[in-house]
């Protein structure tokens, strides 16, 4: 069958069930109820501290076929997933599903466990490195489920993603299971992506290398939901968790794109009191914040909040009074960690409040502007951030689709030519974020506005910005670099790309080398 974007989908997928086709960004509404884990009791004087991970596996007990969940705030410095999976392998467990909110190169040991049948399912929002490579090559029999950050929260809340055991990497914990992310050597700041896991998993395990006296203060995840506390030598490598500072790019083309993106925001009339903003940590996205900051200062305005992954740059804007609040689901650097620890106006929120489409309102809905990247965008403004130009998995939505859906103005920033490849194509290889939720594409050689937003286009033209038809920009790129051929693909479906509402927006097929 085809979904509303014309993508061919199977009716059912083994290990997933019936496929519900994507029908439009806001076309599917919820009809179910929230899932509830079983009640439990802990008697006075009972001890939650367990000697080691192996003992935790025995007490729970972890069995073949279970779903184990993890959060990704440690990024490429994570040490918990590999330790837990090593125990699973040692105990001879089989057929586990790993629900890890993002997968990084550090998780390479998972590949061997996939080959040996310890891990047969993967549920994630983003992946890069050897695991992504192995999945693209077809290492798993079942397709990986790609969700959005908000969609993952939704799936956990409604039971689509039923978590048996949540292992929470805890930079600080007490012996009764209270956890925060702001103290200790492996401090990572917000623990927002672990909130749904802690709330809905049948069993919750805190894994820490920093045991503090009871009661821990502050508390991000509370003792009410935590069954076991395990102390290990190290839960992660601080160098992989945070960078010292996040730098504005020096790439002149990236800066040009960022300056144009900021001009779009200004021309849309959004540099005003109450302005709300989300942007990424890399390249032109963060540089856009730099130009927006100048405009806010010049106009003497105070924004309401900046949202999402928080960098030191946004912290400095908070401290200068350019934003009243930061809403933080993930911190990227040491400044973000310091700020969320010390500044009450810097709020820690869970993935559900950040971006779940099926609750009584998420924070992305309150955004004026989000700045997003793209590996490809097509002439209908559909964006791919899952697969690269060779067809291999190299990313994932993360919060991309969520923020695009929520924000009043969604701006995609991208080089018209990346390397020697045009960024604009007729049809993206893998739709991640539907074009109806993308308003503007900003490149170094011009700006394209989604035809669904004529009033916005009018404003940008009036402001004298270089607005072009997206097909015109595509032709310009192809004049310079030629039109790239789509990469060949195998038959086997290696991943399902789920939209935030639980429908399937696209599939990823097995990698096939060019002949």
């Amino acid at each position: 069958m085809k979904n509303s974007l014309g993508r061919m989908l199977p009716e059912t997928v083994a290990g997933f069930g019936a496929v519900k086709p994507f029908a439009g960004a806001f076309a599917t509404t919820p009809s179910g109820v929230r899932k509830a884990p079983r009640q439990k009791t802990v008697l006075p004087k009972a001890n939650k501290l367990v000697d080691n991970l192996e003992e935790v596996f025995r007490r729970i007990p972890v069995r073949d076929g279970m779903t184990l969940s993890f959060h990704h705030h440690f990024r490429n410095g994570d040490g918990v997933v590999n330790q837990v999976l090593a125990v699973a392998a040692k105990l001879g467990l089989r057929d586990l599903t790993i629900a890890l909110s993002s997968v990084f190169p550090v998780h390479a040991p998972m590949v061997e466990l996939m080959k040996s049948g310890v891990v047969t399912g993967l549920d994630t929002d983003y992946m890069s490195g050897p695991v992504a490579e192995a999945v693209s090559q077809g290492v798993l029999a079942k397709p990986v489920i790609f969700r959005t950050h908000g969609g993952r929260a939704r799936a956990i809340e409604c039971g689509d993603l039923a978590v048996d055991v949540a292992f929470i990497a805890a930079p600080a914990a007490d012996d009764y299971g209270n956890i925060n992310g702001v103290q200790g050597e492996t401090a990572c700041g917000s623990l927002g992506y672990a909130f749904p896991d802690a709330e809905y998993a049948e069993v919750v395990v805190a894994v820490t290398d920093n045991l503090q006296p009871y009661p821990l203060h502050p508390i991000s995840i509370s003792q009410e939901r935590v069954d076991y506390v395990v102390v290990v030598d190290k839960i992660g490598d601080p160098k992989g968790i945070v960078s010292g500072t996040t730098q504005i790019t020096k790439d002149p083309v990236g800066l040009k794109i960022a300056a144009n993106a900021a001009k779009v925001i200004q021309a849309a009339g959004l540099i005003r009191d109450g302005f709300s903003f989300q942007t990424g940590a890399g390249g032109a996205s963060l540089a856009t914040a730099h130009f927006v900051r100048k405009m806010m200062k010049a106009a003497n305005v105070t924004g309401s909040f900046a949202l999402g992954g928080i960098t030191g740059y946004l912290v400095s804007m908070l401290e200068e009074g350019l934003f009243r609040n930061l809403i933080d689901v993930q911190g990227f650097d040491l400044e973000a960690i310091r700020s969320i620890r010390d500044n009450p106006r810097h709020l820690e929120v869970g993935a559900g409040m950040y971006a779940s489409p099926f609750n009584a309102g998420c924070a992305v809905n309150k955004l004026d502007v989000v700045i997003l990247g793209a590996t490809e965008i097509d002439t209908a403004f559909n964006v791919n951030v899952v697969t690269g130009s060779d067809g291999k998995i190299m990313g994932g939505s993360g919060g991309h689709s969520d923020a695009a859906a929520g924000a009043s103005v969604t701006i995609v920033v991208a080089n018209l030519l990346r390397g020697r490849l045009p960024i604009i194509v007729d049809n993206v290889l893998t739709v991640t974020t539907p074009g109806e939720t993308v308003d503007v594409l900003v490149t170094e050689r011009g700006i394209a506005v989604n035809p669904l937003r004529p009033e916005l286009k009018e404003k940008l033209v009036t402001a004298g910005l270089p607005v072009r038809d997206i097909a015109e920009l595509k032709a310009l790129a192809e004049k310079m670099a030629g039109a790239p051929k789509a990469p060949p693909q195998g038959e086997k479906i290696v991943a399902l790309v789920e939209y935030r509402d639980g429908t399937i927006i696209d599939v990823v097929r097995q990698y096939k080398a060019c002949e």
């Binding site: 002149p252 083309v253 800066l255 040009k256 300056a259 030519l417 050689r445 310079m480």
Partner: protein, 290 residues
């Protein structure tokens, strides 16, 4: 009218920059074959720059190529580059009118029939060049501007180059004077600390005050700042409008001598006002008509 507020250097051996050069909206791009390119890479850079002139769209930016000095690779550069049709050749280390004559002769020899004559900007970066600035500026009508290269110049003086630029104040004044005497533009030396935006603003404001009409840039990040300084301010535009209105009124009334705010308006003032409004019109065609 011409406006060369910003001229952006880009290395002639960097394909990515050559390809992207048109996106930064500098008034001119300078594709550099001289200092940015090591001697053993001169051939490759020359071919790359020639190909770029044939294929890359530099949009509204004028195309300038800085060639090597005529006693090194300059003649080879002219033979390869001029037929590819750059608008301007930037000739480095010019020390005499004879160097201009040599360059023009070499250029004429290789220009294609019907080709728009390629113009020249003389880069003055030695004490000798500065001493000969007026003769250089008047050497040929292809010379459209003198540009100051202060790094080499101060090295020749044995003076330390500073951000404030006290050591080049005379050079700047002499260069502006020579260019003005010849009726061409003076272009200021680059500001070399690309991370110091406030310093760039101050340095450009000083250049504008001294009479420079534009500035060489070594990084795309400098362009907006340089344009902001060289663009006429609202106050300058209003002043220019009032000058021209006073002139029109005087003509209508048939009075000879015209004054504005108690100061006499003479020909140079009128010419400055006209230039200001012409610049403003380039900036914003609608608003300035009044």
């Amino acid at each position: 009218m011409e406006r060369l507020r910003s001229l952006l250097f880009m290395p002639g051996n960097n394909p990515a920059m050559l390809q992207a050069g048109g996106v930064f909206e500098a008034d001119a791009v300078i594709l550099d074959l001289e200092d940015a390119v090591a001697p053993r890479e001169k051939d490759a850079a020359r071919m790359l720059v020639r190909a770029a002139l044939h294929t890359v769209d530099y949009g509204a930016s004028r195309t300038v190529v800085r060639i090597n000095t005529l006693d090194t690779f300059g003649h080879e550069d002219i033979r390869a580059i001029v037929p590819a049709g750059p608008q301007v050749i930037l000739l480095p280390k010019v020390e005499s009118a004879a160097a201009i004559h040599d360059a023009v002769a070499a250029m004429k020899a290789v220009e294609r029939p019907g080709q728009e004559p390629v113009k020249l900007i003389a880069l003055i970066e030695t004490p000798c060049g500065l001493a000969e600035a007026l003769a250089i500026a008047r050497a040929d009508k292809r010379v459209i501007a003198l540009a100051l290269g202060a790094e080499d110049y101060t090295a020749s003086l044995g003076a330390q180059r500073t951000k404030v630029g006290t050591e080049i104040i005379t050079a700047r004044n002499l260069l502006v004077n020579a260019a003005a005497a010849a009726g061409i533009d003076a272009l200021d030396t680059p500001f070399t600390d690309v991370n110091d935006e406030a310093g760039l603003t101050a340095d450009t404001q000083l250049a504008k005050q001294l009479g420079f009409k534009g500035k060489l840039c070594i990084n795309p990040r400098q362009i907006d700042t340089v344009h902001d300084v060289f663009n006429p301010s609202e106050a300058e535009i209003n002043w220019a409008r009032r000058v021209l209105a006073a002139i029109r009124q005087a003509e209508a009334e048939g009075t000879g001598v015209v004054a504005l705010d108690g100061k006499m308006i003479d020909a140079p003032i009128v010419s400055r006002a006209q230039r200001t409004l012409a610049l403003a019109r380039l900036q914003n065609p609608q608003e300035v008509e009044a």
